[in-house]
Symmetry: C3
Subunit: 345 residues, 3 copies
């Protein structure tokens, strides 16, 4: 595939500085890109490399020095890079229909241009939108509803009646709608509380590999529009996750907790149950959240407190043995002083 | 389905106060339940809502004020709620037999009324009890033994010769009997130690999604009767887990560790290997357990110590920078005092 | 199977002390082994048991007391145990070919003596070496390349174009080559950056159950030769893991981090992104690594510092409330001293 800079500028919403008829047929990094390739400057730290790179064109932010090169100027070069990858390196999807070896139950409704690979199973009454791809080993339980332009990778499981929005991607092995972990104790044994709710995954959500999102006890576990969830994340029953959150790998969120929009939970964070985490809150890696967080919080630690204070406190931790010794020494010096003062009195 | 209060009271082991012939056909929360529904009071904090709720009947603990409503009095209303959900909302299981697209090996013995979905595989010599359900993608390796009334959800893997008891539920993607992580070093490389033991899952165990329970090196990794294990939990080779334990999401238990009965490990806890954790021990979320715990322990922290003491210690952590400054100031004041005392002496 | 001690000594690279024609047909522990079995002494602590054990022969390190028994002397008895298990307890693999119910795409190349179980799927253009075993539910996406003597357990997913070396074992449910977690923000939403790189798994790697190893954004996520990875581990895009590392269960490694050779990460460790961890570094369980580690480091904590110092610092943590009280008392005593000294002046 070959594109002129004029064509690319239009796709990227940018403007050409230089030759709009110059053509490129791929992209590379500032270090690697050569003749016929386009590259980009995302980090101003590397601005000097624009002078020496060998690419046919460079995507730059407004005002950056182009060193006489062909430039496409865009507001957000990193975003442009994502779009260029899509243009040059992602093969357009081909619909293959229901392939031999796929298992389709009764009363299933399939949209247009679906691909259902061998070894995928769609159980009774499931409804699939247009351009849905189910890879081998995907299992949709009865009554699952899937929107348009959805990709479910190999061995994804979606349990009964759960609903997946449009443009959702779920990676291999992830389980949507497993039973919430709910038991009534009788003082001796645990009695299972049937989990009769569902999971709703809204539009434009992406979920990594081998994650687990439990169905609600009675109502809905919800993943809000545009939220991105990494591999091996656990989201317990009745959680409500807001829009455009970033939930990094191996995070665990306990039952009935609500996240606002644009919340970031770094890797291996744990959040207790029945909490409310405000919009734009950010939680540092491996932190444990025992209570509500107001919007805009930035916390770390186990249990977590303000990130800045945590950094300062953690700087003291390695010196605790020394501090303890100092205190012990001070105690002795004070005792001697007290003795001396008493003698003089 | 419609039930009289008299019928329900019998199922729940309770007694009716009010009209035993009143009928209900579903259940709801204190806030939501309406005419024809039954609700329950589990938390005394909400006792006032019993007066204003619109349900046909309320399940109450002995002695709670019924405000003139139809009441079923039971010792444990939360447990009654679990049973009511089962009665009204869980469809009775239908046996579908070995469905087209299921793969059954040689010398397999199947009990009565099984359902083996398309895409499930039962390898040679496996033995299944009565009323077993295998969802699509379940793989039973050769020689696996499964009891009665077992449900294995989609894409569960059970490795060779492992044994699953009666009334066990395992959620999607979980792997039972993967090789333990055992290698002999030669100073340069790691040599695999064949893991020839098995996993035994006793009766009434439930295991969440995408968990991993490794087979023993030589003998048995055992999950005791009635224990409940959440999603993404890791249990290493040769562990012996007691009865009726609660092991919350993302916990990891290292090899050859023994848990007593009724042990609770909260989310993301890590337990070192070759330890003994006593009955009824409780470990707070994200804690790390480096040594044995006596029965009845309640610990938190990394490494863990008494939970109460941990709470107090953690309250000091954010103030460490301040304490350090205080110590430094005290040091100067003492030096000045020493100077003053010396001058006077 | 029956072997003479002379035959076994040759397999193990050791020498017989005693009767080279004595035969054994299995192995057991020092406590359990009986007539016709061989046992081994790995831990010098149990040397006394050699005198009283009932085994036909004992594998001992050079110089250990044999108490008149038949002995095979080897440099590393634990390694010998691994080999003996292989000899006596691991059934030789039988090639079963492409079994009915397996799905093989177009332009697939299969080596000699493969076993592809029912329910496994090999998509278009994949290349498999000799003696490869794919269990049910394994999915190889288009263009995957697999070496010789590889075993992929049930429900393993390998995404497009990833490459698996020779003698690799991957346990159930693991996903190789899922998309890296890469998004470009526009201030409001997250735009997916297509992940067009691959994963390369080198020779002699073993990966546990339900792990996730993401493909690189542009180039290669690499797992070095001989490295062993436990269950539920997360390795993010563009990581380069060295040779013969040990990565224990539930570890998470963030994007673009490089590990040297022989690195050990204990359970539930988290490593931040874009770091370099030197050869032979060891990280204690549950630690968080925020920065580079030089070769030979031994660290623990969150954030981690020298393991020895961490042990000492953690010993102080439970005493923090007491230290705080001491400081407060010292403050008062100093104030009184200052008062006294001032009065006298």
């Amino acid at each position: 595939m070959t594109k002129t800079l004029a064509e690319l500028a239009q796709c990227l919403g940018g403007r050409v500085v230089g030759d709009p008829e110059a053509t490129v047929r791929g992209l590379g990094t500032l270090d690697d890109a050569g003749e016929g390739q386009i590259t980009f400057l995302a980090n101003p730290r590397y601005a000097g490399k624009v002078a020496t790179c060998r690419a046919t064109a460079v995507v730059l932010p407004p005002g950056a020095e182009g060193y006489g090169r062909n430039v496409i100027e865009v507001a957000n070069p990193y975003l442009a890079f994502a779009k260029l990858l899509q243009i040059f390196h992602v093969e357009p999807r081909k619909a293959l229909g229901v392939m031999a070896g796929a298992h389709i139950g009764a009363d299933v409704r399939l949209g247009a241009e679906v691909t259902i690979h061998p070894g995928a199973t769609v159980m009774d009454g499931a409804i699939l939108g247009n351009r849905v791809t189910l890879y081998p080993g995907v299992v949709l339980y009865p009554g699952v509803v899937v929107g348009d332009d959805v990709t479910l990778h190999a061995n994804v499981t979606v349990r009964e009646r759960c609903r997946i929005g449009n443009r959702v991607i779920i990676h291999g092995g992830t389980v949507i709608g497993s039973d919430g972990f709910g038991y009534a104790p009788d003082g001796r044994e645990w009695h299972k509380i049937p989990q009769i709710g569902i999971v709703v995954i809204e539009d434009d959500v992406e979920i990594g590999a081998n994650a687990a999102i439990d169905r609600a006890a009675l109502e809905v576990t919800r993943i809000g529009r545009g939220t991105k969830i990494d591999n091996l994340v656990q989201i317990a029953h009745n959680c409500v996750i807001g829009e455009n959150c970033m939930i990094i790998s191996q995070v665990g969120i306990s039952g009935s907790t609500t996240l606002g929009d644009h919340v970031t939970l770094a890797g291996q964070v744990g959040v207790a149950g029945h909490l409310t985490i405000g919009d734009n809150a950010m939680v540092g890696a491996k932190s444990g959240i025992p209570g509500n967080l107001p919007a805009g919080s930035m916390v770390s630690g186990l249990p977590a407190f303000a990130h800045r204070d945590w950094l300062k406190a953690m700087a003291v931790v390695p010196r605790l043995p020394e501090l303890r010794k100092t205190i012990s020494t001070l105690e002795k010096r004070i005792a001697q002083l007290e003795e001396a003062v008493k003698r003089e009195a």
